[in-house]
């Protein structure tokens, strides 16, 4: 059930589409808002998004495994060697997934309860140890390798989100990869550990509609 409320900062209409997504950034004034039983509270102002040429935008629709989704939020992260986007997908059934976008490649990841992860290596990382790149990890019967680990910094966010993503928020990010395009990611921010699993995807296989128009570039065949 969508909930329409006025932004406490600018009065513009803001929509909360799911109780599971209590946080959002006002599209008009970029205030970071959190919904609770007491109403909507303002958390500060989200920093402006730096210019980029990502083909994804809020409102883009697509299909994954027969389920239609819409892009409703984004968090932009940076680290010492670059930056990437995490787009939040809201599925018809109410479920969510993240579409990671880095180096021109896309990963579709769904959150899994970290409590179900039995890997000693990942448990140790969640407890504060540093990840060893190249280390093999067995997850739910699949063999993955730790491909990358880095301290990430939240640049800014937009749209609806399951959590507040203030600029300057820091998290330790560990990426795992399998030989067949499978991937997983662990995020530890000092208080909690989140775990995500999924695979590499091509934008084309998500049958995207409403891709962002970019000046001087024709929309791709797969979006026609």
């Amino acid at each position: 059930m969508s909930l329409h409320l006025p932004c406490p900062n600018c009065g513009a209409d803001v929509v909360f589409r799911s109780p599971a997504l209590p946080s959002r950034v006002c599209d008009t004034c970029h205030s970071m808002l959190v919904r609770s039983d007491a109403g909507v509270t303002q958390f500060g102002i989200a920093a402006a998004l730096p210019f980029d040429v990502s083909p994804v935008q809020i409102g883009m629709r697509g299909v994954d495994e027969g389920q239609a989704f819409e892009v409703i939020g984004r968090v932009r992260w940076s680290w010492t060697d670059g930056a990437w986007n995490e787009w939040l997908l809201l599925f018809e059934g109410g479920g969510t997934a993240w579409l990671g976008e880095a180096m021109g490649q896309f990963l579709l990841l769904r959150e899994y309860p970290f409590g179900e992860v039995r890997s000693k290596t990942l448990r140790a990382i969640a407890d504060g140890e540093r990840a060893q790149i190249g280390q093999k990890v067995e997850l739910f019967g699949r063999k993955l390798v730790i491909a990358d680990a880095r301290q990430a910094l939240c640049i800014t966010a937009e749209g609806e989100l399951p959590f507040v993503a203030p600029s300057g928020w820091q998290a330790y990010n560990v990426d795992l990869r399998g030989p067949d395009g499978a991937c997983a990611s662990l995020q530890r921010d000092g208080r909690t550990t989140s775990f995500y699993q999924g695979r590499y995807v091509m934008l084309a296989e998500l049958a995207p509609r409403g891709l962002r128009a970019i000046e001087g570039w024709a929309l791709p065949d797969y979006a026609a």
Partner: protein
Amino acid sequence: MQPEAPLAPPPAPAVRALSCPNCGGTVELRAAGYTVHVGCQYCGSILDTTDGLVKLVTQAHAAQVTPDIPLGTRGALFGVEWEAIGYLRRSQDYYRWDEYLLFNPYHGYRWLVNARGGWSFGTMLTRVPTWQTFSSYTLDGAAYMRFFAGTATVDRVVGEFYWRVAVGETVKTGDWVRPGFMLSRETSEREESWTLNQWVPDRMMVQAFGVAPARRVWPPLPHQPSPWGAWLGKGALIGGIALAFLLVLSIVLGGTRWITSQSLPVAVDGREQNATIGPIHLSDRYQRVQVRSTVPRLENGWVDLDYSLVDRRTQQVFAASGAAERYQGTDSDGPWTEGARDSDVSIAAVPAGDYDLIVDYKGNRWSENGTFYPDGGWMEPTNAPQIVVEVGSGTLYGSNLFLAALMIAMPWLIGLLLHLRFEKARKGESDFQPARSEGSDD
């Protein structure tokens, strides 16, 4: 209050201009948001653009580099338009090559590699090839054989990249090939990545990016498909069809039309005899004339045959000779026979006209002591020895058929030789070619 109808947002601008903090030159950012480092095309300094600000990473005053494909050039390859946004000059020992980073916001990044004038189109893999043997990997069911191994160094950097680039940076490389494709692995302390490079024909690059056509790449690139390879398969098919056609043709046309036949008596005393058979009318412009002589009673003897085919008008003579011989006996292994009772000769390319066939012949009897002939031998008058001479004409000649088959096979054999030469030169470049070590020190 009626809310205003939302206007479609203007398309996002694609290019952002920066000014190089070292030389002040204008540096264009074409993949904003992805680009981490930019090499200034004027001074070679490397700039960091991660957070929207421009920071100088390494200062340089290098001479201007002009890549063959100017950055910002767009071209369509494999149905997608790509823009060249980054250029790397890399080397391994004395071997140098150019790499271009291609970008399309809807398709991500690709590589364009130019080595010794030959081009390849590289796609980064998100899956890992399967290790097969010490010398091969497989990907999507295709096997790739190992070809190169070494360490590659970055020598020059111009334009933008989605990672931190640095001149002098090295990575370990390994390459595996199959015709048309090269699987490349790059390993640094930080990560291992795989790229699939597809060989791109020169004309495709000339058309797409307007590069100058290259001279013949020799020796060929490791994954360059042999231009004769496909031709050989096609050639074998076409040649096979041609040979089958030839065979059918020879069956249809290969028969002999018998024109005349005549029986000639053989003299008992074994003297030279002759007879004239004619007129024989030959109507085709040129034909093969076949003369078949059969000696029905021939046993333990032989007949010498000399033929002269004489044109009645021009007196031109076509000569041929033959013999029919046949023996039989009994030894410890039992009865035996040897030879044949007939002789068959052909005269090629006889022009049209009316001819006489003059047959010179002589019957011979094999005489050996102790040989027993119940009826006194084949030449006894009671046996009425005779020769039956038949004359016919036809169009095809066995040796012509063979020549035609050879001519069909010849281009294919030449193609095969060229293919083998190409493959030898291609494999000769490999680090794992055993023949390479000998004589390479001169």
